[in-house]
């Protein structure tokens, strides 16, 4: 089973770009969300090997998000 990457980015074009690059060029399964709160919920229910996150996002800062994901 391929390793899974979660990308969290509120800017939709940047999110699309990152996911296209990773899907095209790596064998990993890429899951995306533009909402950091949703990202925490996803992490509670699913396992991710890597989280790539923006820092400045409405609702939750990137570093806070990582803390929440680690707890989940």
């Amino acid at each position: 089973m391929a390793e899974r990457i979660l990308i969290v980015e509120d800017e939709p074009h940047m999110l699309k770009l990152l996911s296209m690059i990773l899907r095209d060029k790596t064998p990993y399964e890429v899951i995306i969300t533009n909402n950091p709160i949703e990202a925490v919920e996803l992490a509670k229910n699913e396992k991710f090997d890597l989280v790539i996150t923006d820092l400045k996002m409405p609702g939750l800062h990137g570093l806070q998000l990582l803390e929440e994901v680690k707890k989940a």
């Binding site: 800017e11 074009h13 940047m14 690059i21 095209d24």
Partner: protein
């Protein structure tokens, strides 16, 4: 003195504004460049579309260079001081620029005093100042010329002198050379930020920078000399 203070404040506020704008521009530029790269990989190199994409890439890269120059001012706010040998900084920059110097047929004359005291400063920032001044000197000596770099210690100051045998700075430009976006280079070749960034770095290092310049109308030997004085203590 009042005029000097106004000038410094003007530069400081322009700097803050420009750096803020640069941050906002960085993301859209990364998106433009990223998607362009993806499309370039999917487009045949002999097609008209490929040429158009390369133009987008080139222009966006140029804009990115401007942003990077602006941001270097912000990044260097967190400058890290250490003891620095200024001769080492000069040699590092000259090594880095060796190809440019050779390709452009410039001669370099170095006269570095061997026993300089160390100074407290950020070597990366000081190298950036030297790079910007030397880069300009190389550019203005079109068709060849001599770049002279010397260092000496007068018991109080370490004095760096960087001279070129270029065309000199016209009188009407002399007050503006440290202004952001002021450039006399051709479109696409200069951002007009090199000396502005240098000026901001220099302010943080308690350094004095002056220049002497003569155009060909003013002297038989035109050219510009930048003098940088750093406080050196044994």
């Amino acid at each position: 003195m009042e005029e000097q203070s106004y000038y410094t404040e003007k530069l400081a506020s322009l700097g803050t504004l420009a750096a803020g704008v640069a941050h906002e521009i960085n993301n859209p530029l990364a998106i433009i460049l990223g998607f362009t790269e993806i499309l370039l990989e999917k487009t045949h190199p002999d097609s008209e579309e490929y040429d158009i994409l390369k133009t987008i890439e080139k222009q966006a890269t140029n804009a990115k260079r401007i942003v990077e120059n602006l941001l270097s001012f912000v990044r260097h706010k967190e400058h890290k001081e250490q003891l620095v040998n200024i001769n080492d900084c000069i040699n590092t920059v000259l090594d880095m620029m060796n190809n440019t110097i050779m390709i452009n047929n410039r001669e370099v004359k170095k006269d570095l005093q061997e026993t300089l005291p160390l100074i407290k400063g950020d070597p990366g920032e000081l190298q950036q100042v030297l790079f910007n001044i030397i880069n300009n000197a190389i550019y203005v000596m079109k068709g060849g010329g001599i770049l002279c770099i010397s260092t000496k210690y007068d018991g109080h100051w370490i004095i760096i002198s960087i001279s070129d045998t270029g065309c000199g700075i016209p009188k009407e430009h002399r007050q503006r050379i440290f202004d952001p976006f002021f450039t006399t280079k051709e479109v696409g070749k200069g951002t007009g930020l090199g000396l502005w960034v240098s000026y901001n770095i220099i302010k943080k290092h308690n350094v004095i920078i002056t220049f002497e310049t003569k155009t060909k109308e003013e002297s038989e030997k035109p050219g510009t000399t930048f003098i940088i004085k750093l406080p050196g203590e044994r």
